[in-house]
Symmetry: C5
């Protein structure tokens, strides 16, 4: 994508190719680099006085997996956010979620958004500015930035919704189940929530800084909008923690089901062995070959022994039923 | 419900249809929208200078499940509270409790309460103003607001009472029980407490802000009343945490009962098998068909063997009794 | 009990019936209501300018189970404390301890103590003032209040001593024990400590406020005495937490004893079955009725088989002994 | 021990019998009471203006088990520290460690150390002053106090070294062990660490106050020395927490060894029973006395059955080996 | 290694042997002692006014295992950092990681780095100054110090990468495994993470102090670079905590595998015993030697009994299959 710069003028939105001119023009300028190359990012950075360290933060890689944050510079405000989407079929923890960094730079009458990837949340607001809500830029760079922050935060709700569905699926299966698959699902949920939490917590702090109201390029009238976003991030953080508790609850029930299954198995074995073993002993007695065993010649001995054993078995079965083992 | 506006006058309570006139009238005005439509809420908001973001907070939905809070605006104070009732037969975590939002807006000499649902706590205070305690509004909008906050907080005690009864029921059943039903009940209690906590914690913070005494539309004489409510919310929060500990204790006992049941079952099996198996071996010996087995022809061999086996069984039974397995 | 008012005069302690006169009299006045009715409390409250909300806090009931606290009012200081005693035979958590509230109100030259129940700690100091240590009131209302706070805090040591004895009793029994009774005792201790903690934590905060030294009616020379009490409450809080750790340790040992018992039972069963089952198979072989079984007619076959089986049993027993199962 | 007072003079260390004269003498005075009686403590306290409450803190008993702390008074600084040594053969938690209190009082040009027991750390510094490092007192009372605090803190390293040895001994034994003795050792370590923590945490806070540098009788040049001690106490606190984690790890391995032992026992039983029981059934079949059993008269039936059973046993053994149960 | 001193001059880097001259020379001086003896350290310390306590901190030993920290002195800033490498084959907790201390001293126009061991991170920056990036010193002592701090922190990523590989290896093996080896690996990972955490946490605090921006010898333009390092240390700390959660998850799955293995073993035993024992009883019945047992003479009795037993076995097998035990 090439660099796009828009300037709000009373008569409409102007597109500019010359960044310096766009910045200098009266009206709020939004310069957007989406999916940008290093050259594009650096060109914009030079025009707007963005520090190399800030550019490094926008270029997200494994060694530089920067947390969302807000930094106040002399001539602009730097907001770094990350969007998050869950991944399927991941094999390492680092792959649990896919995050993309977006740098939002707010000057007195200009806004720059930089990213090395496509950020749908930024695209949504860009479309609003260029098509539906053309006077949005007129409310100031800080207000337009709020709209982007709001859209990024809204994206987290989708992630948590997805996790919530998974939790509900697990909760439905968990009672009585003892398979390793389900435990793997439960562990997978714990990892997802852990990954999302690593994005949400610093986002909450960053938005909190924006909402607190002592920053240079955020107008007082915009602060209440940031407070609104802050409410949502706090809600997301709490939801994440609550979901962790739910997953722990599901795991407890799973482990208990396993213990109960073992208990049931043992009861079955015990009932069978306890009834049959003594009877086997009895028939063993009358299988002995002693010459002198008076009972052997009694005509009804066989039937008496069979009846006796049936009696013993019945009494034991009753006992086990009373104990709740049968 | 239509919008209701009441103005306190020395000679009694006036009802008004014209909101602007009600606001302008001398005396404290309370405008109440209960079960309100979007149009009604917006009409009131316009008259009293309530921001769209505040209206959004009052309209509670899944994506905008705002936490209780207090926000100071230039011309009024915004208090958002939530009532809570436990639900039965819920199948997802989001349904554990039913919350309803109420916005309380306190101006210099006016009070507005907005809700899209019926809030019994507000109804109680409204009835007091219109029927029993007609001079309540004369104590100021902030004092009337305190009465509503107090009534909302009182409602949480009912919720915790209900949970307490459930905990006591579970504690009575838990010793010796090993069924999945009871574990489900215990987990259900954990979820209820989790849900209630999500309402109580931010309520405590919000009421704490009201009690701290540096807000614009809360009179110094009213603060001590808010401190009183604050004491109650703190008590509720502690109660909730304590109940969580009780539920954890009940769960531990339950799991221990299960382990003990398995232990008992194993003991039974071991005692029976350990006594009977050797005896079965003995009778097996004398069931062998060797031609030369001198004992077989001894006249009292059978009785001797039977007696010997009875002896072995008796000794073993004594041993097991001494070990506490019988 | 009727209301008692004492005024310290250089020449001794005066008893007063007229509260207003007692308050106005030169010298420090202590007005004490113990076991008071609502009327008595209200009469005193009116004389000394005590707010209805304060009276409500002193009247402790389930819905108004106020936490210990300190509140600074314009014309007096309000200290709410609670004494605690463990209960025996309790069936619900709310009954674990018996708490009694006492309100201590400190004015410039007067002290009021209000309670709806008998508070032994207050009685002790009252007796000191009236009998042994008559010049105590001369050191000021704040110092006399310190003495009461100190006596209340001392009472908590008795409660923790009682719990400590119970813990030691449990620790002595816990090794090797597997009965449900002991687990119930352990759970009971957890509940007791939970109940006591709910009193100790806010008491620590309240005494901390008294010790911090920026209150209106506490003299600088008295503050070091409150710091001394504060040290004790901190010690009590730590003791409570330490006891919780001890109880957790006892529970772990208990649960381990149970697992070990199951392990022992299984070993017994396995040893017996593993030795006896193969031998039973052997004797079964020679109990078969095949026409052609050459061994049957060998003259020493029977003795050879018996010896062989004894050998197998011996080898197995040695193996099990080496494995530590026997 | 009698009270000892030393005053540093340019020409050497003077010993004094008259406490008031020693205090008044130019040069830094160190008055030391070790193993002191109540009378001795009170005599010193009176001379140096030490409050009764401070004396009570130095006199350590069960009801007054004061935590290490620093208190700033108008005319001196009060530092209360506790030395700790592990006890062997203790039967109650209170006996896990033996603590001794020492009060260090720092005035403008005097130092007082009070204890009702012998404190080796104080003795070490006293010997340095009187023999090796005679100019130590010349660096000021606050620097000499630092040396005592440093020596007390060094003593904690010995305690943690002892515990570390015990942990390593337990870790070596824990794999594969299932005896109650080892669990008792593990629990003993938890209790030791709990006891030491109760001393270390408040010591850290106290030394932190000394290092923070806003106290009246601690010179700026001495503060960096207190910061050095503070580093060590923080290191000790972290070591204690780390050791707790190690002990928890050892306990987990122990419990797992037990579960694994049970698993092994069950496998043995299952393998034996699963191989032998079906064979016993087979020989039972041919031990039946039916008149018509054609196999009985086949000449090689016996050998065929024996071979068949060997085959079944072999197949089963192979299966169990493949499952890893054998 | 001998002491090396470099001074930046407009015309290039000068090497100096005389430390005092190097310090006095215009331009930024970096004096580096790597692998230094006590004499070398003390010589440098004297020249640059470094306190003995600071030297002690650089000399890292068991009793003086100082945590990373930043201390502000009048004439310089003292930064103590530690590099960490994992050790293999360690037998005590103290050996889990190998740490090396490096002292970084930042003056107005001089930088001193002291270490008693070789610190690769310092060597990297030294090489940059002397070879590649000769103007680095021109950016100031504080900026060069930042480069060293950055290199040290980068080293931690290697350590965590190594641990991450181990975690992934364990996670792959853990499902279904029940051997003690794997549990030992899991415990080893917990210990590694514990050791690394003890370095990371204080490093985060120290770098946070450098980034906060109120230190004397750190220029405002350098602070944003320290903030960048701070971001990385925070990321490392979070990674460490996340890895602890992953290891806990792996341990849970391991323990569950063990419970499930026990459950499987029990099921096998129960199925075999429950099918075979009753059949053994039946054949025992017809092995009895009663004279009157009518069935024995029925011609098809044998076949009928065999069929009947096959039927019983089949029904039981079906039942067990339906229960999921087979
Ligand atoms: Mg994965
Ligand atoms: Mg995932
Ligand atoms: Mg939003
Ligand atoms: Mg993170
Ligand atoms: Mg909102
Ligand atoms: Mg319910
Ligand atoms: Mg549900
Ligand atoms: Mg749902
Ligand atoms: Mg529910
Ligand atoms: Mg109330
Ligand atoms: Mg919450
Ligand atoms: Mg109250
Ligand atoms: Mg409470
Ligand atoms: Mg009791
Ligand atoms: Mg109750
Ligand atoms: Mg109790
Ligand atoms: Mg006391
Ligand atoms: Mg509490
Ligand atoms: Mg004291
Ligand atoms: Mg010991
Ligand atoms: Mg004791
Ligand atoms: Mg000990
Ligand atoms: Mg030291
Ligand atoms: Mg402690
Ligand atoms: Mg040091
Ligand atoms: Mg390794
Ligand atoms: Mg080791
Ligand atoms: Mg290692
Ligand atoms: Mg770096
Ligand atoms: Mg450390
Ligand atoms: Mg960065």
């Amino acid at each position: 994508m090439t660099v796009q710069a828009h300037v709000f003028q009373p008569e409409g939105i102007d597109e500019h190719d010359d960044l310096a001119a766009a910045k200098a023009a009266p009206g709020t300028t939004w310069t957007r680099v989406s999916d940008g190359t290093t050259d594009e990012l650096e060109a914009v950075a030079e025009t707007f006085g963005i520090h190399t360290l800030e550019l490094d933060d926008v270029r997200n890689d494994v060694r530089n997996d920067v947390r969302p944050k807000v930094e106040q510079f002399d001539d602009h405000l730097f907001v770094l956010l990350k969007t998050a989407t869950l991944r399927e079929g991941e094999t390492t923890f680092a792959e649990e979620i896919r995050t993309r960094s977006v740098g939002i730079f707010v000057g007195p009458d200009w806004l720059v958004t930089l990213s090395t990837q496509t950020i749908p949340a930024v695209g949504l607001v860009w479309d609003a500015v260029t098509r539906a809500e053309k006077r949005l830029l007129a409310r100031g760079a800080d207000f337009t930035a709020y709209r982007i922050v709001d859209a990024v935060v809204d994206g987290y709700f989708d992630v948590l919704d997805e996790i919530e569905s998974d939790i509900e699926a697990v909760e439905e299966e968990v009672v009585g189940a003892t398979g390793l698959d389900l435990l793997a699902d439960i562990n997978e949920l714990r990892r997802d929530l852990l990954s999302v939490r690593r994005v949400l917590w610093p986002t909450r702090d960053a938005v909190g800084v924006l909402a607190r109201g002592d920053l240079d390029f955020v107008d007082e009238t915009t602060e209440k909008y940031y407070r609104d976003v802050y409410d949502h991030v706090v809600q997301l953080v709490e939801l994440n923690e609550t979901y962790r508790d739910l997953v722990t609850g599901a795991r407890d029930i799973y482990l208990n089901s396993l213990s109960m299954s073992t208990n049931e198995v043992m009861k079955t074995l015990t009932v069978v062995a306890t009834i049959v073993l003594p009877l086997t002993f009895v028939v063993g007695v009358y299988g002995m070959n002693f010459e002198t065993m008076p009972e052997l010649s009694w005509p009804y001995a066989y039937h008496a022994v069979m009846l006796g054993m049936a009696g013993i078995a019945g009494v034991m079965a009753l006992y086990f039923r009373r104990e709740g083992w049968l």
